[in-house]
Amino acid sequence: MMKFWNKRVKLGILTENPELEDDIKAIQKEIKDKVKKKFAGSLAIRMVDSGSCNACEAECNALSNPYYDLERLGIYFVASPRHADVMLLSGLMTFNMTPHVLEAYEQIPEPKWVITLGDCPVMAAPFEKTFAIKAPADKYLKITHHIAGCPPSPKEIMLGLLEFLKKI
């Protein structure tokens, strides 16, 4: 047990970009009314993969590692669309997933927004259109914000989410 605590003390706090906390504080002040009213101070995200290569999902998972620790900003990934404010959509909107994505969107309570993640949902990735691909996603859903990259790095995702908060 002592070994564990020694390691813990030696590692210290790894979380980077503390300036983002100031950013979110500033944004929160700026759009305080909106966030307070709409999000009760925190933003709940439902991540939906509509046919990606899993790199975007890996980067979203990385957002919870000690370096990024997204939750300190009051932004959470939630387990059900019914708990969410925002759908974060990655992937190519495949033929087989499209009906399920739309169903998940239906389940999100109003007011709701869609953010597209990575190059796939806007058809900017090297994948070519086939019969099995329904992207771009804006044919089916109203997209409020887009986070570009193949895949976007965790820091780019964080900055993208903050930009989205400034936008609405």
């Binding site: 070994k3 564990f4 390691k7 590692l11 790894l14 991540m47 939906v48 993969d49 509509s50 046919g51 990606s52 290569c53 899993n54 790199a55 975007c56 999902e57 890996a58 980067e59 979203c60 998972n61 990385a62 919870s64 590692n65 000690p66 370096y67 990934f77 387990a79 059900s80 669309p81 992937g91 190519l92 495949t94 033929f95 087989n96 997933m97 009906p99 399920h100 998940a104 990735a125 090297p126 994948f127 070519e128 259109k129 086939t130 019969f131 099995a132 691909i133 193949c150 895949p151 790095s153």
Partner: protein, 455 residues
């Protein structure tokens, strides 16, 4: 004889069915007008998905199969459409009327069904799991996938090998380097060139780096699914360190575009130091986690795949090695010279798969020291010849098989079989003695790819 893959090609007026085993390749031809073949699924249950896929892709009828349900084509997919046929050119398909899919279920007094997915609670890929339950006990599980089906095989037809590269490296993000190495081997065969040792070592270094990133992520997530979050904090920290190293070396966090025939100068001294540091960390991790009894209480005997079943289902990769089946594509002179040791366990449970991962991370780090090279010989690729080429690579999940036919300089048929395609089919036999609450843990311990499976 280990069954590896079975797939069809359209050749004028016939379909050629290729069946790949570890020791031989069998080919049979059937008339396109009356495409009827026999099933192999009685001897090799894992042949079933290949055959159901052929039925959807080409309209080939597997006469004596016990399961003729569609695989890739789901409820709203138009009937009698076979997209892999050469005369199919549509770029858009309309949704057709909803046709319910008949799940494999067990019925009886008090037995109920639990349907999970395709969208899951965590940040994971989409897929469907259908359980028949007697209380908490899982009586049966059907794994149903292909929600991510992007028609990669069709997409790549008509492209040159170089045009296909950016797509091939994005088939499965976690195994990008492995896919690229399979592609590389086919380019080398088609241009009849040998890879200089320096490049071979550099690519192998990247493949091992990809493996430790994937394994370290799992070493965090598996305990997390048993309710031990501290391991995820440390595991994901180490995985992030390794991913940043990937970015430093290749310019991309997942190594997209990393495997080419140019040679990057590696700072071997600093990498050596980094590897020692990682070794110290993984040893600390092992030492720490092995002493958490409540965790091993969940791991031991959970999700057991016996050696007999692993052989029967032709399992590959970490799953096979954890059940005592010694299959690894790295069992060759090159890897053995650089310090490769096969990691295996015999108990076949979650604990075994966890321990195989720890041991592989340690072995990979040891090998990576030996793979560091300061030589910067590059290779210029000559033009490629037409022909049929196959290659194998051991990805972080298991054996990856790729087959490409080139005709008039472009891809005539592209086929790839991810390790996941085999192992998904063995998942339901691991559940026999467990309760449904153990399912996420068992699934995570195999950590199979959905994207690589669905294509």
């Amino acid at each position: 004889m280990r069954f590896i893959a079975r797939y069809a090609k359209e050749r004028g007026r016939i379909f050629e069915i290729t069946t790949v085993y570890d020791t031989e390749v069998k080919k049979e031809q059937v008339d396109k007008e009356k495409p009827v073949i026999g099933t192999l699924s009685h001897e090799h249950p894992a042949a079933l998905w290949f055959e159901r896929k052929m039925q959807d892709d080409f309209g080939i009828i597997v006469e004596d199969a016990f399961d003729k349900r569609p695989l890739v084509h789901q409820e709203q997919f138009p009937k009698h459409v076979h997209p892999m046929r050469k005369d199919f050119h549509a770029k858009e398909l309309e949704f057709s009327e909803f046709q319910p899919y008949n799940y494999e279920v067990i019925n009886g007094d008090g037995v109920f069904q639990v349907s999970v997915g395709p969208i899951h609670a965590g940040i994971i890929e989409p897929g469907h799991f259908h359980f028949s339950q007697a209380g908490e006990k899982m009586l049966h599980l059907e794994v149903r996938h292909f929600y991510k089906y992007r028609a990669i095989e069709k997409m790549l037809e008509g492209k040159t090998l170089h045009e296909a590269k950016p797509i091939i490296e994005r088939i499965s993000g976690n195994e990008s380097i492995a896919y690229q190495i399979c592609w590389r081997d086919i380019v080398l065969q088609a241009s009849q060139q040998e890879l200089p040792l320096a490049l071979q070592k550099q690519h192998a270094f990247l493949l091992e780096l990809e493996r430790i990133i994937h394994h370290l992520t799992d070493l965090g997530f598996i305990p997390n699914d048993a309710g031990f979050g501290a391991a995820l904090a440390l595991g994901s920290k180490l995985a992030e360190d390794a991913r940043r190293k990937m970015k430093e070396i290749t310019g991309h966090r997942f190594g997209f575009g990393a495997i080419d025939f140019e040679n990057r100068l590696l700072d071997t001294a600093s990498l050596d130091e980094w590897l020692y540091d990682m070794e110290e960390n993984i040893e600390y991790f092992e030492d720490w986690i092995i002493d958490i009894p409540s965790l091993w209480d969940r791991f031991d005997t959970t999700g057991m795949l016996s050696l007999k079943k692993a052989v029967k289902y032709d399992s590959v990769g970490v799953v096979a090695r954890a059940s005592g089946l010694a299959t690894d594509r790295r069992l060759n002179a090159f890897y053995l010279q650089h310090g490769f040791e096969l990691s295996s366990e015999i108990s076949g449970d979650v604990a075994a798969r966890f321990k195989v991962r720890i041991s592989e991370v340690k072995n990979s780090l040891k090998m990576m020291h030996n793979l560091l090279e300061e030589d910067t010989t590059a290779l210029h690729i000559k033009s490629v010849d037409d022909g049929e080429y196959v290659s194998f690579t051991e990805s972080s999940i298991g054996e990856l098989f790729m087959a490409i036919d080139i005709k008039e300089g472009v891809i005539e048929r592209f086929f790839v079989r991810d390790a996941s395609f085999m192992n998904w089919q063995a998942l339901h036999v691991m559940m026999r003695k467990d309760i449904i609450a153990d399912f996420p843990l068992i699934n995570k311990s195999c950590d199979l790819s959905y994207a690589g499976n669905d294509l």
